[in-house]
Subunit: 483 residues, 2 copies
């Protein structure tokens, strides 16, 4: 393990983070809000720490080759460091008393979770709210991916970093050059964000709120500038606009790129995207049926609120237009199970991901088929491609590990005194990078009242979910450190 | 598919069932209770139906070879038929109004689940309570296994029937002859039951109650003759006696046989048994820690109630000495997760089973190991034996299917109007053949208030769990019926 190299990469990222803090500083200057000092201090500390690391690491030549172990360690430490330094603006703000809270909010932002410990969001300085949204946007497409896009020299050996941050089950590189792929992804992402800002402005939102919400919609983040989240606006136009963009954010971004290149039917041709869209529709109709007559009197109302909640949870955004804790059992169960499914691989969404669910279903069906035809040889195929046994094993292990983390983290929250439903909801939500949970962390509540230990554990779950388990878990396997 | 053959086997089983009904008839005569007519009618109908099937099937020669498809179909239909005809004594009793309720109680009995729809157990005729316990005892070691033991001619071609009823992940035959193996299992089972009766008599129970409770402990069934279950007796001696015998019932019965043959350390040498014992101990201590000071003031009291509840749920018995719904979140979560783990393969317990959990953990660890050493070739071993890839795949698919059934059945209960916790608890409990669940079907409640559709669905879940999914699920795969 070449620690100096890792320190150098983290140093670079912290410098970039410091530069990113200049944006809310400008917002602060524009609004004359009291957070200027906050951002100046945070910017200074981050830059200083970053420069120190870069200088200490004495990177005289650019080392091209990064092995997998170093890649995983770097990404795990980088995300932790960015969570820590990104917490500074929160920590220096009057809304946050403990560093635990600031770190939770920061990690919740960068991992695009959207769980919050802020009890009165609207009372905070506009620049702080902007920072809250901006870090979701930065985290959404991937911090490492962003770095590779803007610092092409990282891309040369950065494939290991890339794979550790975006461990999609079936990776598809867009172009032979990694830095070009990263650039394309970020451009598509930025264009969609811009488009959403225009739509929200058109619907009557202020530029500030339009930008903040677009910055948290496209990364499927879910932070809002309002205490009541999207329910505050109570507008069908905003609801449906956000539904469309949440769905777009939940689709593999390489498909958007292919769509732009003329493959007009790609959303339907791609097995994962087709599953994601049909599943979203099915769950929406299922929940509409449940809510119609029980909670909402008209079909159109039931459909509007059902579709928003389903899309918000399934894409792992976490916006709310209703308190689903007051919904009947069926609707609550639909949302609970949707938390595990998640969005598409290669999207900004979290959860287990649709492609893994598809493979898992086909894996089970193949087993049933084998009982009926014991001598048959059958393969699991997705998009007419045979999934290799290695990938199959890895996907089955991933899903099992995901459930194991859910069980262990829930029990640990139980040790800290949380009740069963709150523990289940909090872990499912944070591990899936969603936002609201169930019980005392439902959409009408927040995470402020949890004990400090629970906040650290849930922050860890968010990182686990964002880096898709292996990158972080592998570091706590003793075998990793042997020899 | 040779339907006449299947009908013949089911006919034989119904005749045996009719003969079994003579036992509660004798109990009824002894107690002069009003259920004599009930059992006479039920006996007559079962025998008549059985004889009709046997005669109609015109089995002139004994067909030795049964293929796997026929085996699975036979076992699935046989268990359904036995559930239906075993329900007759309940249906003819004043305590049961609908056939739905009678069928639910009967299936809950034969599958050794122990969920009940009886609201006042103590008011029922002794012979009916005896029947309730007796069917658990008959179902515990397997109805097919019993038939093979007492009708050796079934054993010749009956290996497919045996495998369909006892689809243990790593099957171990005791002797070359199946009927001998079946006999050994039943003798061990009967001896342990007798031993438990003696212990309970020694503790001061009446012979009737001792027999009834022994008949529901050894098959990890969980029906009691008392409304308050084992809490009624409020005796540390009974609690610990039952704990010991529940644990024995949760151990692979081939190990008991090996122990009798002099392998004194076999419980420790066997990987699954060691895991089962250590896991039980760990969960007990974990829960004792949670309950001590919060619910129970002394350590010994906390340990007594924690160990009973953990053992009862983990062995999938379902007896209760406390209402765990009033326990803190951690204890409830421990019990909820234990519902999925279950007991050992080859025991009378249900759930996913320890051996599958062990293999699953090793499967995931191997995947982590492979990330660290990509070129390594490593096997999953249990008891120093390499688990083949076929078995591995089958186990991973089993666990996934188990969770999928849990999700689907919970949603279907949601459609019927049940709340989330009740739906989760009811399905986990019935699928694991446990008994009590959570929410409105907790240990202090019963299943009487559920809608009829929910009772049929849960009965199906019990059968699914008892026959370990594949035997029943395969019948609803269209591919099974093709050609």
């Amino acid at each position: 393990m070449r620690w100096w190299f890792i320190a150098g990469v983290i140093g670079i990222l912290l410098i970039l983070l410091g530069l990113a803090m200049a944006v809310p500083l400008l917002v602060s200057l524009y609004y004359h809000d009291p957070a200027q000092e906050t951002f100046l201090k945070s910017l200074g500390i981050s830059m200083a720490a970053g420069l120190t690391l870069v200088i200490l690491s004495k990177r005289k030549k650019r080392d091209d080759y990064i092995n997998q172990k170093e890649g995983m360690t770097t990404v795990a430490l980088a995300w932790t460091a960015i969570g820590l330094f990104g917490a500074l603006p929160f920590y220096f703000s009057p809304e946050f008393i403990t560093f635990t809270d600031a770190f939770f909010e920061s990690v919740s932002g960068f991992t695009t979770t959207g769980s919050s410990v802020m009890t009165d969001i609207e009372a905070a300085a506009p620049s702080l709210l902007f920072w809250r949204s901006f870090i979701q946007w930065l985290g959404g497409m991937g911090i490492i991916v962003l770095s590779i896009a803007i610092l092409p020299f990282l891309g040369v050996g950065g494939i290991q970093l890339y794979k550790a941050e975006v461990p999609s089950p079936v990776p598809d590189k867009l172009t032979p050059r990694l830095s070009d792929s990263a650039k394309i992804l970020w451009v598509v992402y930025a264009v969609l964000t811009l488009l959403l800002i225009i739509f929200l402005l058109g619907g009557g939102m202020s530029l500030f709120e339009a930008a903040c919400h677009a910055f948290t919609t496209m990364p499927t983040g879910g932070f809002s500038t309002r205490n009541a989240s999207i329910a505050h606006f109570n507008s069908a136009f905003f609801d449906y606009t956000l539904i469309v963009f949440m769905v777009l954010a939940g689709i593999n971004f390489t498909l958007h790129f292919q769509l732009l290149r003329g493959k007009t039917m790609i959303f339907w041709e791609d097995a994962e995207c087709r599953f994601f869209l049909l599943f979203t529709l099915a769950m929406t109709l299922f929940m509409t049926w449940d809510l119609h007559g029980s909670v909402y009197q008209t079909f159109s109302e039931a459909f509007r609120f059902a579709s928003f909640q389903v899309v918000s949870i399934l894409t792992t955004t976490g916006f709310a237009t209703a308190d689903y804790e007051t919904f009947p059992g069926l609707s609550r169960m639909i949302l609970f199970f949707c938390m595990f499914v998640g969005a598409s691989a290669g999207s900004t969404g979290g959860g287990i991901k649709c492609s893994r669910i598809i493979v898992c279903c086909k894996y089970v069906y193949r087993e049933l088929f084998k009982i009926i035809h014991p001598r048959s040889i059958s393969h699991v195929k997705v998009n007419a491609m045979v999934i290799s046994n290695d990938v199959l094993r890895s996907i089955m292990a991933f899903i099992t590990l995901y459930m194991a983390v859910f069980v262990l983290a829930s029990l640990m929250l139980g040790v800290m005194g949380l009740d069963m439903m709150t523990a289940f909801g909090a872990v499912a939500s944070c591990l899936g990078n969603i936002g609201p949970g169930f019980g005392s962390v439902g959409p009408a509540e927040n995470f402020a009242h949890l004990p400090a230990a629970a906040k650290w554990l849930l922050s860890f779950c968010m990182l686990l979910g964002r880096l898709e388990l292996y990158t972080l878990i592998i570091l706590i396997v003793p075998e990793f450190w042997r020899k």
